[in-house]
């Protein structure tokens, strides 16, 4: 099957998010969920986006296929295969969804239509003009690839008859069915126990291998990010505060927040970061993390740092501490470029 | 929500409310129709509702052809069947299928001669045999109730021993006892004649009614319509309309709308058009109204078995207090006639008695009877009266009037069965009711109301007892000569006016309305001049 083969690797990034800002207009005021975030993805890469609840990572994920609610105000650019999705016609964007760009939502328990059979929910995602029988065959095969026991039986069943892990597989199948170039997985392991979590990690890897798609994994689970991703971006309060390869980040976290996150992991001591994340409604003058930062400088309070590159060009940090020109020189904010893995 | 949005909401709602109200006031309140515009619309209507130019459509509040289980199949006002005798203009018995008669000297035998060359709708001939078959049927099914009249040969032909055929067109009825007033009892609903082949072994109709009338019943859908067609073989003046359809429309407002929209050309039957709607109809000069005396009278029944109306003075006070003329004018538009006589005006024995209306005298009598106290009483009103008559307004008016006599009236509206129950049990003080004249001979109604064991007397708890009356009634029963009887009836009427076993209010009037597109359509004492109805030239 053609869509199972690995696609050739290209240097041009598949997805390039530039200075994305998403503001929600609520009755209580404006909420800036994403504030000038930038991110790049290359073909065949698995990139993780980690952060706590409210960091803006899910919103960023939703904004790519245009699944944000109408109250969202979006600015910046999202280039997919060269085309800016934010200025694309609604209907053209819709055609990309499910075929080129797949989004696998959180919460498998409620993300499947309870009154529709599994088979139909998967075949719905297959847009190519196959017959019904063919589509069902494809669906069954997808489930088989994803290690679902008795795939053809599953097609006849309803969501309530499946376990959490099985439902996750169905969602993954739905995501993969359209042969996407980009698959966005939103919190794929949220709420699952360790055993199922590992299964899901294996699942995503399998999808990546078989489809050759680039995958953006959005998660708060550092363990998952480490075992799955090639490169990682860390988000805090709507901004990307650090980015780099997985190795670099986990071996040498540079941003105080990232190091704080690492320390809070079960294996590393479970030391929480003091303080609370800032309100997304108020405008901040300085660094958004400064109030909780043990290493803050004087200027952090009233000046916002840009993303500074480290010696290793791939590793970028949004902190004055790592400003290459020590002192007050402005470093040119560079885009986060993650190299392709060999 | 922001405040401005709330205000906008209210404004939007307000605008909608206003526009809806405007629309509905324009159309819903039924303002007087603008002559030109609506006339055009109505012409359109009569063209689009597929009106057969030959067929005239009328409407009645109830089904005038109840069907095979009914005693008569159709009401007499459809002119499908005819009786042996009918009522003349003066209320006296007049010939119909029986053209002449003779009573024997002892009053025990009555011989009738039939009209000749009369055919039933099914082709059978009217002769003595046919009549005898009908009489046999009366006996077989009596008493058979019907919404029009109860067919009871025991009441109409009491003590009928034998029916003898004299010749082809003559027969004799032989009775146990003298029957001087037989003719009055035989009128209309007591002597319906159908084809002898029209009944099954139980005495019920086996098919559509085959009478001798100017109209044949061609078809009928229960509770929807009855379709009449002129009978070519009629022995008298043939009906002027070829086809008449009588539809059933129970609601008076809908009937009025149907008239106004041209769907129907006229209405018929009791309560066809209530007085208030008649007034509205007359505003439109496309329509006309005709009235006739009615056999129905309206009464205020007092419970004579308990205080305060067991006192004749109290009853007198009420009767004198009520301004009957005002009632008739205000609520019934002046069509009926006020009366203080128990006997209905259509009876040939009716005598006019002056109505005493004296407010001061009434108050005096009441004060005496009540001992100067204020008494609480109730006035019960039957629900079937509310639609046909302005009984609600009438009850409230009485309430106001009687309060001046120190009577505190509570109005209770009861459904028909509960109403009768309350009357029979005497659980009321005053009741509004109507009574149709059962028999042109007043003996029946006097017995019912005035005899101490009279059926109405008992059923309405009138509690009236008068030895003089019982004696008079006994005497009348045995009086053969009509002149003698008349004197007795006069006295009975006088007693009823004086002692007021019940308080008569007025004699109703039959109200009929029709579109001027038809002519020859008039109200008669019972029914209309249906055979003379035709399209206006």
């Amino acid at each position: 099957m053609k869509w199972m083969e690995k696609e050739a690797v290209v240097m041009e990034p598949l997805l390039s998010i530039e200075q994305l800002t998403v503001t929600f207009h609520t009755p209580k005021g404006k909420v800036k969920a994403v504030d000038g975030a930038s991110l790049t993805l290359h073909q065949g890469q698995i990139v993780g986006l980690i952060g706590e609840t409210g960091s803006g990572k899910s919103v960023l994920g939703l904004s790519i296929p245009g699944l944000l609610p109408g109250t969202a105000e979006v600015s910046g650019a999202i280039r997919f295969k060269g085309q800016d999705l934010l200025i694309l016609q609604k209907d053209c964007l819709r055609k990309l969804r499910g075929t080129e760009i797949a989004f696998v939502p959180q919460n498998p328990a409620t993300s499947l239509n309870p009154v529709m059979r599994i088979g139909r929910q998967i075949t719905e995602a297959i847009k190519a003009p196959f017959s019904r029988k063919q589509k069902r065959a494809i669906a069954a095969r997808l489930l088989e690839e994803l290690n679902m026991p008795k795939p053809s039986d599953t097609l006849q069943q309803y969501p309530f008859q499946l376990s959490g892990g099985m439902k996750q597989r169905v969602l993954a199948a739905i995501g993969a069915a359209g042969k996407p170039s980009l698959l966005i997985a939103d919190e794929p392991t949220k709420g699952l126990d360790a055993l199922v979590r590992d299964q899901v990690v294996g699942l995503i890897r399998r999808v990546a291998t078989h489809t050759g798609a680039a995958i953006l994994v959005i998660t708060h689970d550092l363990y998952v990010a480490r075992s799955l991703c090639d490169a990682i971006g860390v988000m805090y309060a709507g901004e990307v505060v650090e980015s780099g390869s997985t190795e670099q980040l986990f071996a040498q976290p540079k941003h105080p927040y990232t190091s704080g996150l690492m320390r809070s992991m079960p294996g590393k001591g479970m030391i929480p970061i003091p303080g609370v994340s800032p309100s997304l409604m108020e405008e901040h003058r300085g660094c958004k993390f400064q109030s909780r930062c043990s290493q803050r400088l004087g200027e952090c309070e009233w000046k916002a740092p840009d993303l500074y590159a480290l010696q290793d060009q791939d590793h970028k940090v949004r902190c004055f501490l790592h400003d290459s020109s020590r002192g007050r020189e402005q470093g040119v904010p560079e885009r986060l470029v993650a190299t392709a893995e060999a | 929500m922001l405040h401005t949005k709330n205000r906008q909401k209210i404004q939007t709602i307000g605008l909608w409310l206003l526009s809806l109200c405007l629309i509905f006031t324009l159309f819903g309140c039924g303002a007087a129709p603008e002559p030109v515009a609506s006339q055009k619309a109505n012409e359109l209507a009569s063209n689009t509702t597929e009106v057969n130019p030959e067929e005239v459509v009328l409407a009645a509040p109830r089904d005038l052809a109840p069907g095979t289980q009914d005693a008569y199949y159709t009401s007499i006002i459809l002119y499908v069947w005819e009786p042996l005798l009918t009522a003349g203009e003066d209320g006296e018995p007049a010939p119909k299928l029986a053209k002449s008669w003779q009573m024997s000297d002892d009053g025990r035998e009555w011989t009738f001669t039939l009209q000749e060359n009369v055919l039933f709708h099914d082709g059978e001939k009217l002769n003595a045999d046919a009549v005898i078959a009908n009489f046999k049927r009366y006996e077989q099914v009596s008493p058979k109730s019907s919404p029009f009249y109860t067919l009871d040969s025991k009441k109409s032909y009491p003590g009928l021993k034998e029916i003898v055929k004299v010749d082809e067109h003559t027969f004799t009825l032989k009775f146990e006892n003298p029957q001087p007033t037989l003719l009055y009892a035989m009128v209309n609903f007591s002597s319906p004649i159908y084809s002898p082949k029209n009944f099954d072994e139980k005495g019920d109709f086996n098919r559509l009614p085959q009478g001798t009338g100017p109209f044949k019943l061609m078809a009928h859908e229960k509770d929807q319509y009855a379709l009449l067609e002129a009978f070519d073989g009629y022995y008298g003046e043939k009906a002027k309309s070829k086809k008449i359809r009588v539809r059933v429309i129970p609601d008076p407002d809908t009937r009025l709308s149907a008239l106004k929209s041209g769907e129907i050309m006229g209405v018929m039957d009791l309560g066809a058009i209530p007085p208030s709607l008649a007034k509205e109809l007359l505003k439109d000069d496309r329509f006309e109204i005709s009235t006739a005396k009615s056999t129905i009278s309206h009464y205020l029944h007092p419970n004579g078995k308990k205080a305060p109306f067991n006192s004749p003075a109290m009853r007198k006070a009420v009767s004198m207090m009520i301004d009957r003329e005002q009632l008739v004018q205000e609520l019934y538009l002046g069509y009926p006639t006020a009366t203080a006589n128990l006997l209905n005006v259509t009876s040939p024995f009716y005598k006019d008695f002056a109505i005493e209306h004296n407010v001061d005298e009434a108050k005096k009598l009441a004060a005496e009877a009540l001992g100067g106290k204020r008494e609480k009483i109730d006035l019960i009103v039957p629900t079937y009266g509310l639609n046909r008559y302005p009984y609600k307004a009438q009850a409230e008016w009485l309430q106001a009037v009687l309060s001046e006599l120190n009577l505190e009236v509570e109005i209770r509206i009861l459904d028909g069965a509960a109403f009768k129950d309350a009357q029979a049990k005497g659980e009321y003080h005053l009741a509004l009711a109507t009574q149709g004249l059962p028999n042109a001979d007043p003996y029946t109604i006097f017995t019912n109301y005035l005899a101490s064991d009279g059926s109405s007397n008992k059923s309405y708890s009138l509690g009236y007892k008068s030895e003089r009356v019982d004696a008079l009634l006994g005497q009348a029963k045995n009086t053969l000569a009509m002149e003698e009887r008349r004197k007795l009836y006069d006295e009975l009427q006088a007693i009823s006016v004086e002692e007021l076993p019940t308080i008569p209010l007025f004699n109703d009037a039959s109200l009929i309305g029709n579109n001027k597109k038809i002519s020859g359509y008039q109200a008669t004492i019972y029914g209309t001049t249906l055979p003379q109805l035709e399209w206006a030239k």
């Binding site: 309803y158 | 609601d251 059926s455």
Partner: protein, 313 residues
Amino acid sequence: MLYVVRRLASTIPILIGISLLAFLLSVISPGDPAVEALSMSGISEPTEQEIEIKREELGLHESLPVQYGRWLVKAVQGDLGVSYMTKESVSGEIMRRLPVTLSISLLSVLFAVGLGVPFGMLMALKKNSWLDEAGRFLALTLVSIPGFWLAISLITLFSEKLGWLPTSGYGTWQHLVMPAMVLACGTCAILMRLTRAALMEALNQNYILTARAKGLREPSILSFHALRNSLIPLITVIGTYFGSILGGSVIVEVIFALPGIGMFAMDAIFRRDYPVIQGYVVFTGVVYVMFNLLVDLSYAWINPQVKLGVKLK
């Protein structure tokens, strides 16, 4: 299948219960059927003897349990007896009037669903717009309008002034339009609000996001995903509404001169015609129970969790 049989079997005690209740209510209310039967013409009052004879004829002199028992025995065999007043067969009369009531009811349901549900859907989709506001106001108006007033207004407008529709009677589809409108009014409003609420709730669910992520067109998402999930409350209302209007509607039948089941029952109640009252109660009981059953069965069809129970693999 067994489920259906069990449900049908359980209706028998229900029917006995309601007919018994109807019987008791009839006999304790003031009024005598014998008197009513004899005084239909309103001209003569029957004598006590005549009333007695009639009471015997109608079986009213027997004790109450015997009277009811007699009726029950015949009823279970399918014989609902004859009317005290007209001597016509009760079941025959109901059957004769059924087509009238059925046709109006069908048209009413069509109006209520055909107008209420789409409008409700529109309101849900254009949430908080002027259309939504107008719809909510309209629903409030419709549910507040008294039936008889609406009937008379419609007749005045469409028959008298415009001449488009006949005022009353039964025969063509034009005769059914206004009565059906009056009957459908209130339920149309209810369906509007209900559809709006149910659809809004369905559209808020996570699986709608999944459907959007698949790149499906909005109409498909609306019909296959959102609407299907909002059907259950709608079907409940529609099913029970249909079941109840099959018992007839007196106001509509009187004003529009439609010889339906409602007027039949009303007259019988006024005249204390016990066999008709009980026959009517049994008939409407059966109809209502059947519709409830159909509604419950439809739940199972719509929502598989109901049908199969929670069956883990």
